[in-house]
């Protein structure tokens, strides 16, 4: 910018003006940088510092205990179980969410009349809040009065403890989570599909490829940027699942649905062990950073940009 303007000024004035002026990019960046610094960077540094201290229940630092908070965490079998639960939950929800969303998107992508109705239905879970969805599913899962157990018993089977059986609870929560997140992923993938030029499909017709040929040789490569985006957001979203857990199981039965974020919340805002909670925050940050980096590295080659 300065370069463009310089010739308009007199020769003597030019250097002075140039010195006074802030580089324009700083002004453009300032609002977002400020928000980032105040609401993200500062709390993060504070969290990092707090994690090395014993704290009062209001978060004041009382004594430096180096990595003791971390040692306590990683020697706590319950925390290790939470870690395991979180990874299991990731494996259960992320791939299935994306696969189901892709399937629905491919199926409802054609321009047949009435397809709009299906698209509305498939993306409708986006409009449901976690709280409302949880209440609704809680009714379905009810041990004695729930619809699901009515169906199961009608087929002569024993009622299932959807949320009360330690072997079953994480599966149930994962199912609800997939259902909840399907709408968003579906919508993004749908957008990707709509961007594919028909010419590609016409070429397939000429070659004589079938449905799977079209899917794997044309559709998936061409929407790979959308797929990558959906994968990443689903992964991070799954790491940070809170609402469903809080509303459906409160981490039970016997810790089997207790995920990292829920445990962090309980320690920070119910038990007020701020030091330990901060350490958990740092661990979670590192984990997400690591996993999303890993995922980027692994899938990078598979993503093609037009």
């Amino acid at each position: 910018m300065e370069y463009v303007h310089a010739p308009l000024h007199t020769v003597e004035a030019a250097p002075a003006v140039q010195k006074k002026r802030l580089p324009l990019w700083i002004i453009y960046l300032l609002p977002s940088m400020l928000i980032f610094l105040i609401f993200t960077f500062y709390p993060f540094v504070k969290t990092l510092v707090t994690s090395f201290f014993a704290t009062t229940n209001t978060g004041a630092l009382t004594q430096f205990i180096d990595i003791q908070n971390y040692v306590t965490l990683f020697t706590d079998p319950k925390y290790l179980q939470n870690l395991g639960n979180t990874f299991l939950y990731l494996l259960l929800t992320v791939p299935l969410t994306v696969i189901f969303a892709l399937l629905l998107a491919v199926l409802s992508c054609s321009n047949l009349p009435g397809m709009g109705i299906f698209r509305t239905i498939f993306s409708s879970t986006m409009g449901i809040s976690v709280a409302a969805g949880s209440v609704f599913w809680n009714l379905l899962f009810h041990p004695t009065a729930g619809l699901l157990n009515h169906i199961v018993t009608a087929f002569g089977s024993k009622p299932v403890g959807w949320l009360t059986d330690a072997n079953c609870a994480l599966l149930s929560v994962s199912a609800v989570s997939i259902w909840m997140n399907l709408g968003f992923s579906y919508l993004v993938l749908m957008g990707g599909l709509k961007n594919i030029d028909d010419a590609h499909y016409e070429s397939v017709e000429i070659v004589g490829g079938g449905f799977f040929y079209r899917l794997f040789k044309v559709t998936i490569p061409l929407i790979s940027p959308s797929l990558f985006f959906v994968f990443t957001t689903a992964l991070i979203g799954a790491f940070q699942s809170f609402g469903l857990i809080d509303m459906l199981t409160a981490g039970g039965p016997n810790n089997s649905t207790n995920l990292l974020v829920y445990r962090l919340y309980k320690d920070a805002f119910v038990n007020f062990r701020i030091g330990s909670a901060s350490a958990q925050g740092v661990v979670l940050f590192l984990l997400i950073l690591l996993v999303s980096q890993l995922q980027t590295k692994l899938t990078e080659r598979l993503v093609t940009y037009q």
Binding site: T47, T56, T62, P253, N254, Y265, N271, R273, Y305
Partner: protein, 466 residues
């Protein structure tokens, strides 16, 4: 070239998004209560709107007193009407009541506000938050105010005073007392030959067997893992929940409930093995709906919602005191429920208003109204003799049972109840242990794990006490 630029841009954006999302998770652990905010917000906006309009109407120079509470549903309606009556009764002060979510959520928000602008002058806490509040230094002891404003505290229930006394002084003002009780389907037990509900574990098992034998389709016992009920049952059986006399003689450092809780779990396991018990996980609402729809014959829950349960069920609901094992004398319960804290550092005028409000809500008439509408029991002796209370007990004799459970409780350091900042953690661990038993786990191993987890938490929390 263009490809590469877009590619890098996308990668940078993805990583930035990842980091941002991750960091917000950490951020809330130090400065926010974003998560805690969500659940109470709907009710909160309701009351805020109501209070806002009434404040406008009465405007003038009334001193506003902010009152955070955790009452919801039917109980909130009763509380709102009591506050409205107080506001109408005098022209100096106006109490603005706001629901701030559960006791734990409300306490968390109170800590985050650091007594700044917009924080509460009065905050209602649950018994599990007492030590945390004392530790925080953000509330003041009520006994100093009692002296300063010549508040008559002679009529307060001694059991309630016993619980809320810390280091020899009454720290917070008792307001809503409750304890866990047994709710049962009276007709079901009558049909099985029980006019009176059994008082022992063995008696309940026997009754459950009879109900099952009669071919009834109702599951005799329903249960959800409820930490408050579990530690009250330990108290009732005469056990200290934590060491140093329930944390009363010195700061507690470990749990001491092993013997009693093992007995309780073994009883539950026996019921379950015999096919007489259905568990609802840790979900009290689902248990209640199972009970009202006559799918279970009895369950244990707080007396706080008693009035609502009795009104909801279209069959006769009985309430009985917590059972004990045969041969054990019931000690009674500690006065759990809620109480009112006064924020530290409020100005003189607000302070006077707070005491005026306390005078009002602890008066016999108001306590009788409060108890009749909810299921809490009055915290002043006078309330039990008011005509309205007597009439209520005439109409709902069940409410009298839960009140008697407390009134007949012995007053000693066992029934003073636990004083522990990690009481919520202790209960979470007891719940997890019971859920493990529900799922067929070994009782001793479950208790051992709960003890380990709670003791570690207590140690870590004590380390931070200034």
């Amino acid at each position: 070239m263009k490809n590469r630029v877009r590619k890098t841009a996308l990668r940078v954006m993805a990583c930035a998004a990842a980091a941002m999302l991750a960091l917000t998770g950490c951020a809330s652990s130090t400065d926010g209560s974003s998560a805690a905010n969500t659940s109470g917000s709907s009710t909160q906006s309701n009351t805020a709107a109501e209070n806002g309009s009434s404040a406008d109407n009465t405007a003038g120079n009334k001193i506003q007193i902010s009152f955070w509470h955790s009452m919801s549903g039917a109980n909130q309606e009763v509380l709102d009407s009591i506050v409205a009556d107080f506001n109408a009764s005098q022209d100096q002060y106006e109490v603005v009541a706001e629901n701030q979510g559960s006791y734990d959520e409300s306490t968390g928000k109170f800590f985050s506000m650091a007594n700044g602008d917009g924080s509460a002058d009065i905050i209602q806490i649950g018994e599990q938050n007492l030590q945390s509040m004392v530790d925080s230094g953000m509330v003041q002891s009520v006994s100093a105010l009692i002296e300063k404003y010549d508040f008559d505290d002679s009529d307060l229930l001694e059991q309630a005073v016993n619980f809320y006394t810390v280091d020899g002084t009454l720290y917070v003002m008792p307001f809503n007392c409750s304890s866990p009780v047994v709710y049962y389907n009276a007709q079901l037990f009558k049909d099985a030959g029980y006019e009176e509900f059994p008082t022992t574990f063995e008696g309940i098992t026997e009754a459950a067997e009879k109900i099952a034998e009669s071919g009834s389709s109702v599951m005799p016992v329903g249960m959800y893992a409820y930490g408050y009920a579990l530690d009250q049952m330990v108290t009732n059986m005469g056990g200290y929940i934590i060491n140093n006399e329930n944390g009363r003689s010195d700061r507690a450092t470990e749990v001491t409930y092993q013997e009693q809780i093992t007995t309780i779990y073994n009883w539950i396991k026996d019921l379950q093995d015999k096919g007489l018990l259905l568990n609802y996980g840790s979900d009290g609402t689902n248990t209640l709906s199972g009970f009202t729809q006559q799918q279970i014959g009895m369950y244990i829950a707080s007396s706080a919602g008693a009035r609502n349960v009795i009104d909801t069920c279209d069959f006769e609901v009985g309430i009985a005191m917590l059972p004990v094992p045969e041969g054990t004398e019931a000690q009674g319960v500690y006065a759990g429920g809620g109480a009112l804290c006064v924020a530290a550092g409020i100005d003189e005028a607000t302070e006077a208003g707070v005491m005026e409000f306390f005078q009002y809500v602890t008066s016999p008439e108001v306590q009788a109204t409060w108890a009749a509408g909810t299921g809490y029991y009055p915290i002043c002796n006078g309330a039990y003799e008011t005509e309205s209370m007597l009439a209520t007990y005439e109409e709902y004799p069940q409410l009298k049972v839960s009140a008697d459970q407390l009134l007949n409780s012995k007053v000693n350091s066992i029934t003073a109840g636990p004083l522990l900042s990690q009481l919520p953690q202790l209960r979470t661990d007891l719940v997890a242990a019971l859920e493990s038993v529900f799922n067929g786990g070994d009782v001793d191993a479950a208790v051992e794990e709960a003890v380990r987890s709670t003791n570690a938490a207590i140690e870590s929390a004590n380390q931070g006490v200034a």
